[in-house]
Structures are given as structure tokens and as C-alpha cells.
């Protein structure tokens, strides 16, 4: 006989009680003037700014450009990291040649390279794409490498006994075996991607959400600034949910993923 609280707490809306409460508290404190609107605008004000931007259609352009930057950087960095991870994972000679250099570069926090990056690439698109790609490459490299190395050797041996070679062995045994680890790398890299994008768009921007935020700062439109933060957060959550969806689809054979 479960208590009434347990039954209540299992309803879907229950987990939103505290966050919703905080938002309501924020609104009330703002309206009462306890939080100055110059320090933190009320949720209502942020919502109004959102609606105004939707009406003018500008917001879709901003979101689109930021998202495109992020995804192109992800494709470049992720692609390089993935290929290097595959090579080093499968061929010991490649690992001996390449891995040490990769580890050395990886240990440099990529955001600390920003002054150098500006020097090399200026403040245009290339600089931003470079930073995003650099940040994304390493989680994907590490997790791909690890995934390939931890494929069950028993399965590889079985594959060889049953005549699977080269590309067929890779497609049927090695890649699917490495996939759970690779997908973990992807989810992690997505987080790095958004953080890097936000910082990159802060350096300078003539388009995108960063531009929207910088502009708003010039004109003291704090509600738009808060809106930009919320947009970044929502985009981050959206990309993570899409990645989780992929995970669940690719890994439906896995006993622990099927329960989720």
C-alpha cells in the first residue's frame, strides 16, 4: 500500500514543482521591486521580449545561424576526432605515431587559445568554427578510441572463425561494438560544443544569438540578454535530447537501454 506522497510523486508533473515555484518566486520578487529590473528582469519581461522577436521574425535567423555554426564545427571536429580514434584504435602503429601528439594538444584548454586563434583567424567565422571543432574533437577521439579497444575480443575471434574479414568484420562487429562508447563521446562533445559556441560568439559576432545578446547589452535590454541565455540552454537541452534519442534507437538491443 504505497503512501499518498509516493503515488503523487510519480506523476509526470511532480518533477516540475520546484523549478516552476522558483520561476514564480522570481516573478513575484521582481514585480515587488525586491530584485531590481536592471539586475534581473522578470520572467514576464523575458517572455515579452521573446514574443516581440518572434513577431519580427528575427529570432529564427539568430537561432539558425548559431545552430549552423555549432553543427558545422561539430561535424569538422567530430569527423576528425572520429577518424583518428578509429585509426588509432584499430592499428597499433597509428596509435604509437599519433596518440602522444593528440594527448598533448588535448591537455591545452582550447578556450585558453582564444588570443592565438584571433591572431591566426581574425574574428570571423573561421575562428569560431576552429574553436568549436577543437573542443569537440577530443571527447569524440577518446571515446571512439576507447570504444574500439574495448570491443569484446571473443566476438572478433568468432567473426574471424566465421569468415568475416576487413570491412565486413568492421561493419558487423567492431563498429557496432564501439558504438555505445562513441555515443557517450557524442553527448559529451555536444556539451562542449555549446559552451565553446557561447564563448566564441562573445568574442565578436555579427550574427547569431551572441550578436543578439551583444546588441541588447549596448541598449541595456537586459530581458533580451536573459533570453539569449535561456535560448542557449534550450538549444543545449534539445541537442542532448536528440542525441539520447539516437542512443535509444541505435542501442535498442542493449538490455539496459531498453528499460529506459
Amino acid at each position: 500500500m504505497r503512501s499518498r506522497w509516493t503515488q503523487l510523486s510519480n506523476k509526470a508533473w511532480f518533477v516540475w514543482i520546484v523549478p516552476a515555484g522558483l520561476v514564480i518566486l522570481w516573478q513575484i520578487l521582481g514585480q515587488l521591486g525586491w530584485i531590481s529590473t536592471r539586475v534581473l528582469p522578470t520572467p514576464a519581461a523575458v517572455l515579452e521580449a521573446l514574443i516581440a522577436l518572434i513577431r519580427s521574425g528575427q529570432i529564427f535567423g539568430y537561432i539558425g545561424i548559431s545552430a549552423a555554426r555549432a553543427l558545422i564545427g561539430f561535424a569538422i571536429g567530430g569527423g576528425i576526432g572520429f577518424i583518428l580514434g578509429l585509426l588509432n584504435g584499430m592499428f597499433p602503429l597509428a596509435e604509437k605515431l599519433i596518440d602522444t601528439s593528440v594527448q598533448m594538444v588535448r591537455n591545452i584548454p582550447h578556450l585558453a587559445l582564444i588570443p592565438l586563434v584571433i591572431l591566426w583567424f581574425g574574428i570571423g567565422e573561421e575562428a569560431k568554427l576552429f574553436l568549436v571543432a577543437l573542443g569537440v574533437a577530443f571527447p569524440i577521439y577518446l571515446n571512439t578510441f576507447h570504444g574500439i579497444r574495448t570491443v569484446d575480443p571473443g566476438l572478433i575471434e568468432m567473426g574471424k572463425v566465421y569468415g568475416l574479414r576487413g570491412l565486413a568484420l568492421f561493419r558487423k562487429v567492431i563498429l557496432p561494438g564501439a558504438l555505445p562508447s562513441i555515443l557517450v563521446g557524442v553527448r559529451f562533445a555536444l556539451g562542449v560544443m555549446w559552451v565553446t559556441l557561447i564563448v566564441a560568439e562573445t568574442i565578436s559576432a555579427d550574427s547569431g544569438i551572441g550578436y543578439m545578446a551583444m546588441n541588447a547589452r549596448e541598449f541595456m535590454q537586459m530581458d533580451v540578454v536573459v533570453l539569449s541565455i535561456i535560448l542557449y540552454a534550450l538549444l543545449g537541452k534539445l541537442s542532448d535530447s536528440i542525441a539520447k534519442g539516437f542512443e535509444r534507437w541505435f542501442l535498442q538491443w542493449h538490455p539496459s537501454y531498453r528499460k529506459a
Binding site: 571473443g154 566465421y162 569468415g163 538490455p255
Partner: protein, 256 residues
């Protein structure tokens, strides 16, 4: 599933295998006739799995010759299949897809036929993750037999199963072998399993053959007093017990 394809004969001469300084097999001689079922028993570490892997072509011998159907074993051969101790099914492929790996041209019907032979055709569309240990090993058996191999190597395949499932699987393997007549080599530490399945039981000790006993019981094997005679005979040799002087086998109580 074609019957009447002759199983591989094997001729092993002077086979030695060392791993570094450790000599596992020393000048081993063994002959397997086409379609024969051999069991290799011995204590842990006696080299039985190594011998099997050499026959499969997964390892190279240090010395000696290994002839499979008159040809030197240089590596993996498509007519040789291995059943490992764990089922080794690809967890990301459904059961039928796993069995199709065993069929050379990927033919679905052959794979379904193999599943029917082991009695698991209704599980064809399941993920291996939902099957029990015994069922998984049966799928692995279907995969091994789907391509009508001429040589089946079994590396302690039933060790991880419970006792009753083990007996069921032994009956299944015997039935399928009687139908297809491939050559079979079973490595096992279970002497009773060896007597249940094999035409000949080979004991490995100190890296070579210490016993090569023909099991003259009729098939399908019954666990009667004749069975117990052979079991005791081999087990005593494995455990290196001196046969008690008062023991007299009652020859009249089983048929030869």
C-alpha cells in the same frame, strides 16, 4: 542441411606448441577419421583448448604437421566451425541475423532451417539479450551448423550451463551429428559428457596423448552400467587413481 558430405579426416603428427618457454603440447600424434566424434579430456591446463585452437587455425604450431583433409592447416577454413564456451552472439543483431553469419551466402532460409533444427525458430526475431544461457548456446550451435561444416570444434561449450540443460544439449548435439556426420572434436573436462557423445575419448597429459579409448556403446547413448564402466575407466586415468584390485567389470551386463 545436406547430409552425406564427408567430414574432414585429421592427421596430426609430432605436434608441439610452446608459449615462450612453456611447453604446452609435445610431439602429439592423433588421427581422426572422417565423420568421427572425438572427445579430448584432461585436467585444466593440459593443453586441450590449445590443441583445438591449433586445429581451427587460430594458432600456429611450433613444430609438427597438422593435416586437415590431407592439406596443411594454415589458418581459418570455411568448412570448419567452432562452438566456444560462451555463445558469442552479436548482441546488436537479432537471432536470425546471427545465424545467417554461419551461412556462407547469407541465405535466410538456410538460417531458419538451422534454427528449426535446434528448436528455436520462434525466437528468430528476438535480441540475444533476452535469451537464456542455454538458448543462446543453441543459437550458436545453429549458427555453427547452418553452413553444413565438415569439421565442428567444440571448446567446452556446455560448461556454463546448468546440469539439465547440459544433458538436453548433449542429446541435441548427438542427434544433429548423427544426421550430418561431420567430424567433431569436443574438448571437455566433464568425463561423462565425453562418454555420452564420443566414438573415442583421448586423454591429454604432459602435452601428449595418454589414453585413446574407443567407446563401444550403442547410439543413442544410454546412461547404463556400460556407460558407468567407461566413465570410471577414463575418470580413474584422468585422476590418476590406481584401479582397485577387487574391481571386476561384469562384461555380460552391456553390449559391445
Amino acid at each position: 542441411m545436406t547430409t552425406g558430405i564427408a567430414g574432414y579426416p585429421l592427421a596430426i603428427q609430432g605436434l608441439s606448441k610452446s608459449f615462450g618457454s612453456v611447453k604446452v603440447l609435445e610431439k602429439l600424434n592423433l588421427n581422426v577419421k572422417s565423420g568421427e566424434f572425438i572427445a579430448i579430456v584432461g585436467r585444466s591446463g593440459c593443453g586441450k583448448s590449445t590443441l583445438l585452437r591449433l586445429i581451427a587455425g587460430l594458432e600456429q604450431p611450433t613444430e609438427g604437421t597438422l593435416l586437415r583433409d590431407g592439406q596443411e592447416v594454415t589458418g581459418i577454413d570455411p568448412e570448419t566451425r567452432v562452438l566456444f564456451q560462451d555463445a558469442r552472439l552479436l548482441p546488436w543483431k537479432k537471432v536470425l541475423e546471427n545465424v545467417r553469419i554461419g551461412v556462407r551466402d547469407g541465405n535466410r532460409e538456410s538460417a531458419m532451417e538451422a534454427l528449426r533444427m535446434v528448436g528455436l525458430e520462434e525466437k528468430a526475431n528476438e535480441w540475444p539479450g533476452v535469451l537464456s544461457g542455454g538458448q543462446r548456446q543453441r543459437v550458436a550451435l545453429a549458427r555453427a551448423l547452418a553452413g553444413s561444416p565438415r569439421l565442428l570444434l567444440l571448446d567446452e561449450p556446455l560448461g556454463a550451463l546448468d546440469a539439465l540443460t547440459r544433458i538436453e544439449m548433449q542429446d541435441l548435439i548427438e542427434r544433429l551429428w548423427l544426421r550430418q556426420r561431420f567430424s567433431a572434436i569436443l574438448v571437455t573436462h566433464d568425463v561423462s559428457e565425453a562418454v555420452a557423445l564420443a566414438d573415442r575419448v583421448v586423454l591429454l597429459k604432459d602435452g601428449h596423448v595418454a589414453l585413446n579409448e574407443a567407446i563401444t556403446l550403442p547410439r543413442p547413448r544410454e546412461r547404463d552400467s556400460g556407460f558407468a564402466y567407461f566413465e570410471k575407466l577414463i575418470l580413474d586415468r584422468v585422476m590418476e587413481r590406481e584401479p582397485s584390485s577387487s574391481y571386476e567389470p561384469k562384461i555380460a551386463s552391456f553390449s559391445i
